[in-house]
Every structure is written in structure tokens, then in C-alpha cells.
């Protein structure tokens, strides 16, 4: 149509590129990981030279039917070895000499070295061996509500509604589970009640953010305050005085999966657990399937990324967002139940002690993906448990510092290790035509 002779310069499909360098974001992530590992490696070198004695790890408790040996490692050698591995991987990252395919493998190796080095140093010369089984069991107990809470957030935020009210959902659900459990004496009823409480909080979130377009972060903070206030009030006025009838819920009993639970060490940790642990694992799979393999999930992600585009193909943005927020409430509610009927059975004020925010951190560090968010939740559970184990081991490290570990890990990870953090494009943006 133009008077140009038909010249086809380049295939329009292919962006023209001459050679590939490293993308800036990937480079930043590589350098910060490398720097962190190098610093840790040097630190371990220093610790390794000073440390004395043996580090002992108990693989079984005295009550286990199959007794595994207690492993004793020479702490100096172990810490130094871990130091060398950490340092080598760190320097490899820094210089960019790590072959492409091996980056994540070496990263995992370095992570193992960091933990082993740290624990060996801490356990060296201690009066009791480090209880590996305890560490694993504690990790799972701490991670379960985090995983469920993070999943609730994943659903909510993928649809474009920011949820900083996970803490509030936890709190209300924990109280509901305790009272419903006490009144009915049934774990199932308590779980249903907790899920309903999570949904009710989610409905408030959806109502004010979707209908009245309130700023979602502010709204989340307000909902958290509301939850603290309401549960605190009910606790003081109603539950405390009648704690025999209203705060006396049954505890979840462990459900033993035959055969699998008999595997030494891991078996009892993984396959002799409370129902909520199994629910959490199933939920990760279910949410992943829902989000990435179903029509509904495609729509949820579409309204979270580009609501306008979804609207023009006939999807009701508000309806999909409502659904996602409410379903997210179910998971957050189940997570909240774990604090009461999953542990002691009773509710006390602020029983969730900020776990909702850690779930939020797991969600962000997991980059809004259910599986990654769940892994981050497990990681947080692991660190928290490690910190409390260290306290009982009477290590040379001040316990306050240990309690800081989970938060330190969050800051370091958020500050650079995870590379490009990209929230759903319309996360927190209200949709008005």
C-alpha cells in the first residue's frame, strides 16, 4: 500500500539481539547472595578455629521404637568444612564462575552448609545432643498455620486485593475455634467455625475494598486492630469468666498413617500428625491446581493483573475478586484454628503473636506463588524452631539474638536474595469502570 518496494527487513516476531549478558535483576540477586555467603563463610572460618569439642546430633528420642544412633561430629572439622563450602559457593557466585545449570544446586548445598555449620558450632560441647527429631517436628507445627495463612493471602492477592489482615483473620478464627470446640466438643465443628470466622473477616475486607474502595493497606491494619479489640473484649468479658465451658476445647489428636509412620526419624514427623497438617499439605496442592489449572484460577489471575482486559472478555471483575477473597478466608481461618485447637486448646489474648505478618512475609518472599509461599513458610518455621532449640542447648549465643533470627532472615531475603519481586500488576488497585 505504500510506495515502498516490498522489503522485509527482519522477522517482526524476533526481537533483535546480538549477544546476551546477564539481566540486571539477576545480577543483583547473584551478587547479593554471593556477598552474603562469603560473609557467612568468613564468619564460620573464625568460629571454626575457636570451637572445641564434639557436636552431637540425636536422631531418635529415647521413646522411639527403632533407636537410631547419636551422631558425633568433630566440631572444628565440621564447621571449617562448612565454612569452606559456603565460602567457595559465595566466591563462585560473586565472580560469576558458577556454571549456569549448577547455580540452584550449589545454592542449596551452601544453604545446607550454613545450617550444619551453625548448628555444629552451637551444639559443640553442649551437655545434650541436638535433637534432630524435635527440630523437624517443631518446624512442622510452627509452619502449619503459616502455610495456611500464606495460602489465604495468595488467593486474595492474586485477584488484586492486598491482604495485610491475615493476622486479624487468624485471631478471630482462633477464638472461634476455641469456643465452638468447647461448646460442641467436636474438632470438626471447631474447624468449620474457624473457617467461617476467616470468611467473615474476609467478607469485611472484600466489602470495604471492593464496594467502598477503601485503601486496602489501611483497611487491613484497621481490620487487625478490630480483631485484637473484639477478641480481647470477648475474652475478658465472656470467655475468661466462663473458661470451663467456653475455653475448654478438645485438642486435635495425631492421626497415624500406617506403615509410613514407621519410617525412622521422618516417619513419625510427617505421617503421625494432626489433621490440620494434612489439610495444609492438601491445600497447597489444591490452591496450586485451582490457580494454574482451572478456569476459575485463570480468571482470578487475570483480574489481578489486568482487570480491564478481563472485563472486555466478559468476566465480572468484582465477582471474581469476591470469590477469591472469601475462599482465601477459609484457609486463613483454618490456619487460625491451629493456634487453639492445634496446640493447647485454650484461647488467650493475642495468641497469634504476629504470625499473620510472618505468613504475609512468606507470601511476598514466595512471590505470590502457592508452592513457593508454602516453602517460605516452612523455612520460617524451621528458623523459629531452631532459635528456640538453641535456647535450650545453652549455646554461647545470647537467646535474644536467636529470637531475632527469623526476622533477620526475612530482611536479608527480601533485601535481595529473591531477585525481582513482582506483585500481581493490579494488586491493591480498585477496579472502577
Amino acid at each position: 500500500m505504500s510506495d515502498t518496494q516490498t522489503v522485509r527487513p527482519v522477522e517482526a516476531d524476533q526481537a533483535v539481539q546480538l549477544s546476551y549478558l546477564e539481566a540486571p535483576a539477576a545480577r543483583r540477586a547473584r551478587l547479593s547472595t554471593g556477598a552474603l555467603l562469603t560473609i557467612l563463610g568468613v564468619g564460620f572460618l573464625i568460629l571454626g578455629v575457636q570451637v572445641r569439642g564434639e557436636a552431637r546430633f540425636a536422631l531418635s528420642t529415647p521413646f522411639d521404637p527403632v533407636q537410631l544412633p547419636t551422631i558425633a561430629l568433630p566440631s572444628t572439622v565440621t564447621v571449617l568444612l562448612c565454612a569452606v563450602i559456603t565460602l567457595a559457593v559465595g566466591v563462585g557466585y560473586l565472580t560469576g564462575r558458577v556454571p549456569r545449570g549448577a547455580t540452584s544446586g550449589l545454592g542449596a548445598l551452601a544453604a545446607v552448609a550454613v545450617f550444619l555449620g551453625f548448628v555444629s558450632w552451637a551444639a559443640a560441647g553442649a551437655a545434650y545432643p541436638f535433637p534432630v527429631g524435635n527440630q523437624l517436628a517443631g518446624t512442622i507445627a510452627l509452619a502449619t498455620p503459616l502455610v495456611l495463612g500464606a495460602l489465604g493471602g495468595v488467593l486474595c492477592e492474586n485477584s488484586g486485593v492486598v491482604n495485610v489482615a491475615i493476622e486479624g483473620q487468624f485471631l478471630v478464627a482462633a477464638l472461634t475455634a476455641a469456643t465452638v470446640g468447647s461448646v460442641t466438643g467436636s474438632i470438626t465443628a471447631a474447624l468449620i467455625g474457624a473457617a467461617a470466622a476467616g470468611v467473615a473477616m474476609a467478607a469485611l475486607l472484600a466489602l470495604f475494598s471492593l464496594r467502598y474502595l477503601v485503601d486496602q493497606v489501611v483497611l487491613g491494619v484497621v481490620l487487625n486492630l478490630l480483631a485484637t479489640g473484639v477478641t480481647g473484649f470477648l475474652f475478658d468479658q465472656l470467655i475468661q469468666p466462663n473458661s470451663g465451658t467456653l475455653n475448654n476445647a478438645p485438642n486435635m489428636q495425631s492421626i497415624r498413617i500406617p506403615v509410613l509412620a514407621d519410617i525412622p526419624l521422618l516417619g513419625s514427623v510427617l505421617f503421625d500428625q494432626k489433621i490440620l497438617v494434612y489439610i495444609a499439605v492438601a491445600s497447597v496442592i489444591a490452591v496450586t491446581f485451582l490457580l494454574y489449572r482451572t478456569r476459575w484460577g485463570l480468571r482470578v489471575r487475570a483480574v489481578g493483573e489486568h482487570p480491564h482486559a478481563a472485563d472486555t472478555v466478559g468476566i465480572s471483575v468484582l465477582a471474581v475478586r469476591w470469590q477469591a477473597v472469601l475462599l482465601g478466608g477459609v484457609f486463613a481461618g483454618l490456619g487460625g484454628a491451629f493456634f487453639t485447637i492445634g496446640s493447647t486448646g485454650g484461647f488467650i489474648k493475642d495468641i497469634t503473636v504476629g504470625n499473620g505478618f510472618i505468613a504475609l512475609a512468606a507470601l511476598i518472599m514466595g512471590r505470590w506463588h502457592p508452592v513457593r509461599a508454602a516453602l517460605m513458610a516452612v523455612f520460617f518455621g524451621f528458623i523459629t524452631q531452631l532459635a528456640s532449640q538453641m535456647q535450650t542447648l545453652q549455646t554461647p549465643m545470647p537467646s535474644q539474638f536467636l529470637l531475632m533470627l527469623p526476622y533477620l532472615a526475612t530482611i536479608i531475603a527480601v533485601a535481595g536474595l529473591i531477585g525481582r519481586v513482582r506483585a500481581p500488576a493490579a494488586d491493591g488497585v480498585p477496579y472502577v469502570k
Partner: protein, 530 residues
């Protein structure tokens, strides 16, 4: 028009935004197997009318008929069900989805996604209409031309009988436009009725069966397919439009911008500008021509400082600004018109007045100490609105409520309204109507004549021809050669494919005498230096 007539008919459509009437009793009809071109200046109400047709807006009056039956579209879903498909002025694609997922969205079939079927459907559609796309590619990784294809396939996937193309060619290169026109012809041959909105009159002449012109919300006339571009332009704008820029020959002064051996990588790490060097003098316009995606966008980004170059130097008036960020570049007197106005050009939720001082809000006369001088900002906005003919109800409207072309005018008005040493403009007239193009071209030439160095990135050969004093052709991140703007188009076309000037002249044949260029071209860092 009989009631029995087959086709789509809009009757007396009226649409108001507040007190502003965007469509005033508009009639339009499309019959199967024809292409109906809808022309009109920026803000005439074309997109609004199409959004009413597609169920995005509810009309305040009038009716929509299909095959004589009245329709009511409460949402796009109902419009789609009635056989209407739309290619929107702003892409409606989810960037992080694959092509197949984008096509699937809204018509997924069963509860569990069937990816294999979706992929097959994309393949089938893309083969049937001759528009190659990779079903599993992520949309954000695709060049705009291909994204446009996806958008069109999305509209076709519904078996739409009537298709609306709202300015599909604004972001396309000449080659892509040729392809699109071929696609539209084959759709017409299949019996689809098409509404085609564009500001490029050449395209109208190439393809229209009927032409309707809108101005200020009303239909102001119809034209025959053979109508000349000048007449069409006059119908649209309501006055004679000078389609050619008359500019004095440049009087270049001192070198103001000096670029040497610049290498730039994009965000994915690909080296897309690979050893580019050029000088621009004050008082001249250097056009960077080339097929989109050959490094021009990244070159412009590196000049303003959005991307830090890997190596090389950029000097403005003798000062090294290679590593300067946008704030310093702007302070040094650089004006910048970004390629993607929606993302980089303005803050959509801010008012027109605020957007017009975005790069100067902290300087007098717009700031007094820490406070903004709202009066000065409003006066400035009112003055620029009149000068640049920005069509809006007032300067306190948000930018989001403006039509596409008027948003572009706001960006240009902001950049051209202050003292500049260098203007870097990418596709400055994208989506702007002919009347406004005339005015904006004049303003850019005026800027040049004030002694500003101008770098213009354009894929539009008409614009290159109209404005350039020199043309640097880029291919695969390098400058193939710097030539005179009067170089024949087929030679430019070959150079855009990477053929050096001498070979291009030889290949283009005797119809393109090499003597047609005044000064002999200088090959800066091309693939081969003679």
C-alpha cells in the same frame, strides 16, 4: 434503510460524561463484507462510540440493531455473544499470560483448563488468518506488532461477525501495517463487517469501502473511497490541512549532543545497542529510523538515563551525562517524549494541569519554597491547553479521561514548553490526528530553529521525510549509515534491513540515482566502513 437489512446499525447513539456530550445522536451502520472507516480528530468520540457498541459504556440514548433486531448490551459479554469483536486502542492483554491463555480467557470451556486444545485453537486461527504467533510465548516478551496480532486473534476467536479495529495501526511498522491490511481484506472477503478507526489517511484510501467522519461528538459527513487525503483531512478537522511541513533548511550550529561507542543492554540482558556513535548539532533534527526493535527505544532510554549504558559516552554541551539519571538529564535541558506514553508519559490519575508541570513542579514559577503555586500551575495549563488544542472540559480533569491523541498532546506540550538544549522524541505523533500532526511538526521545527538539538526516533517514513535533516538508519543495534532525508524510500527500506548505503543504492536499481542525495552519506560505525 429497511428494517430487514442485514448488518449492524447504531441509531442516534448519545453518550454523556457528566455534562460533556461525547456522542451526540450518532448513526453508523456496517454491512457484512465491507470495511467502514471511521475518521475524526482526537477526542471526536470514536472510541466512546465503539465502547458503547461493545457494552463497556451504556448509552444515554439511541439503540443498537443487528439484522434489524434491537439489542441491549449491558456488558461486553453480551456484545460478544451477539457477534461483535473488538480490537481496543489500548491492548487488552494480560502481560504475564501466554498467548494461548489470553485467547482462552473468558471462553475456557470446562472447569479444568485444556491447554492442548487452546494451543491447537491458536495454531488453527493463526494459520487460517495468516498471522503467525507462538501459542506458548509470554505476551510481555512479544514485540508490539505481534501483541497486536494476538489482540486481533482474540477478537476473531469468538467467530465475531462484526469487528471493530480501534486505531490498530498506530503502533505498527509499515510492514506490519501491510500485513494487517491484507488480513482485513481477507476478513472482508469472508463476509465480516469491519469498523476501522485510524488517523493515517493513506490506509483509509487503501482499504475503505465507506468513510464516515466525526467531529466533536457528531457525524459531520461521509466520503467516497476515492477521496483525496487532503479532502479527508479537511473534512476531519474542518479546515484545510497542510500535509507537508514547510521548513527552512537547517542552520546547524555547534555540536550539542555527542554520542560515542554506546553499548546498551535491555532489561533481559540482551545487548541491543552495540557501538553507536553520532553527533547532533544545535538547530538540526537527526532522525533515528529503523524497524521497531532494532535498539532505537533503548538508545532513547539510555540518552535520558532510564538505562545506564554498558560502555561508551554521551555528552551534552560538553558535559558528560553518560551515567546521569533522568533527573540530571532533565536539569541539563533534555526534553523527552517516551515511546510508550501510557506507561512512561504521564500519571493517569493526576490532573492535566499537574501533568503539565511534572518535570518542573519544584522550580519557580510553579513552586514557592516548599509550596506549589497552584495559580501559576493552572495558568500554565490553560495557556498550553489552548496552544496545543488539548480537548478536555477543563485542566483539572484527570489525564485518564482524555482521548488517546490528547494524552499525547499533553506530553508534548509539557516537554516543548520549557527551555531545551536537546529534545529526544520517540514516535511523537503516535495516535495524533492530522491537524495536530501538522501543528506538532511545526512546533518541533520551531524548536530546532531555536538552536535545540533534536533526536527523533520514528518508524514512520512519512514523518522521517517531513522532519529530518539527517537520517541515521539503525539495524540490529548499529547505525547502518547516516543519509540525507531525500534518499529514496526503497534505499532506506533496504538500509533498514541492514544493507549498507552503496549496496542499497545499487540494489534499488536505476530508478534511484545515487546523485539524489545532496551530501554524500557518512557511514558511522556501520557494519562495513568504506
Amino acid at each position: 434503510m429497511s428494517e430487514q437489512q442485514s448488518g449492524l446499525e447504531l441509531r442516534g447513539i448519545t453518550k454523556r460524561f457528566g455534562t460533556f456530550v461525547a456522542n451526540d445522536h450518532v448513526d453508523l451502520d456496517v454491512r457484512p463484507g465491507e470495511i467502514h472507516c471511521l475518521l475524526g480528530e482526537n477526542g471526536a468520540g470514536k472510541s466512546t462510540l465503539m465502547n458503547v457498541l461493545y457494552g463497556i459504556y451504556q448509552p444515554d440514548g439511541g439503540e443498537i440493531l443487528i439484522d434489524g433486531h434491537p439489542q441491549h448490551f449491558a456488558n461486553p459479554k453480551q456484545a460478544m455473544a451477539a457477534g461483535i469483536g473488538m480490537v481496543h486502542q489500548h491492548f487488552m492483554l494480560v502481560d504475564v499470560f501466554t498467548v494461548a491463555e489470553n485467547l482462552m480467557l473468558g471462553r475456557e470451556g470446562g472447569f479444568v483448563l485444556d491447554r492442548a486444545r487452546a494451543t491447537a485453537k491458536v495454531r488453527e486461527l493463526s494459520e487460517r488468518y495468516g498471522m503467525p504467533v507462538e501459542p506458548d510465548a509470554l505476551v510481555e516478551d512479544l514485540p508490539v506488532g505481534v501483541q497486536q496480532r494476538v489482540e486481533i486473534l482474540k477478537a476473531l476467536a469468538n467467530d465475531a461477525r462484526f469487528l471493530v479495529f480501534d486505531e490498530p495501526t498506530a503502533v505498527l511498522t509499515p510492514q506490519e501495517i501491510d500485513d494487517l491490511i491484507a488480513v482485513m481484506r481477507s476478513l472482508r472477503a469472508e463476509g465480516k463487517g469491519i469498523v476501522f478507526i485510524t488517523h493515517k489517511l493513506r490506509e483509509v484510501r487503501a482499504i475503505a469501502d465507506r468513510i464516515t467522519v466525526m467531529r466533536r461528538g457528531r457525524i459531520v459527513g461521509h466520503a467516497e473511497p476515492g477521496t483525496s487525503e487532503a479532502e479527508l483531512a479537511e473534512l476531519m478537522v474542518g479546515r484545510a490541512v497542510d500535509l507537508r511541513v514547510d521548513k527552512e533548511p537547517a542552520r546547524p550550529g555547534e555540536v550539542r549532543l555527542r554520542v560515542r561507542d554506546l553499548r546498551v543492554a535491555n532489561s533481559a540482558g540482551g545487548v541491543v545497542v552495540d557501538g553507536v556513535g553520532f553527533d547532533v548539532r544545535g538547530g538540526e533534527i537527526l532522525c533515528i529510523a529503523g524497524v521497531q526493535g532494532n535498539g532505537q527505544s533503548e538508545l532513547a532510554d539510555a540518552l535520558i538515563g532510564n538505562i545506564t549504558p554498558l560502555s561508551g559516552t554521551v555528552e551534552l554541551d560538553g558535559v558528560d551525562i553518560t551515567r546521569a539519571g533522568p533527573a540530571r538529564s532533565i536539569a541539563a535541558g533534555m526534553g523527552f517524549v517516551p515511546e510508550d506514553r501510557e506507561d512512561d508519559g504521564f500519571v493517569a490519575s493526576f490532573s492535566i494541569a499537574e501533568n503539565l508541570v511534572l518535570n518542573r513542579f519544584d522550580q519557580p514559577p510553579f513552586a514557592r519554597g516548599l509550596a506549589l503555586d497552584l495559580g501559576a500551575i493552572a495558568d500554565n495549563a490553560e495557556r498550553l491547553r489552548q496552544e496545543f488544542d488539548i480537548r478536555s472540559q477543563g485542566v483539572s480533569d484527570t489525564l485518564a479521561s482524555l482521548s488517546g491523541g490528547n494524552k499525547q498532546k499533553v506530553v508534548l506540550a509539557r516537554e516543548l514548553s520549557r527551555e531545551l538544549s536537546l529534545l529526544v522524541a520517540s514516535q511523537p505523533t503516535r495516535g495524533v490526528d492530522v491537524g495536530a500532526i501538522e501543528f506538532l511538526h511545526k512546533r518541533i521545527v520551531d524548536e530546532r530553529d531555536k538552536g535545540t538539538a533534536v533526536v527523533l526516533v520514528s518508524t514512520e517514513l512519512d514523518e522521517v521525510e517531513a522532519l529530518a535533516d539527517r537520517v541515521a538508519v539503525m539495524y540490529r543495534g548499529r547505525v547502518v549509515g547516516t543519509v540525507d532525508p531525500r534518499t529514496p524510500r526503497d534505499v532506506l527500506g533496504l538500509m533498514m534491513a541492514g544493507v549498507p548505503y552503496e549496496e542499497a543504492v545499487a540494489a534499488a536499481g536505476p530508478s534511484a540515482p545515487p546523485g539524489s542525495t545532496a551530501d554524500s552519506p557518512t557511514t558511522t560505525s556501520g557494519r562495513r566502513t568504506p
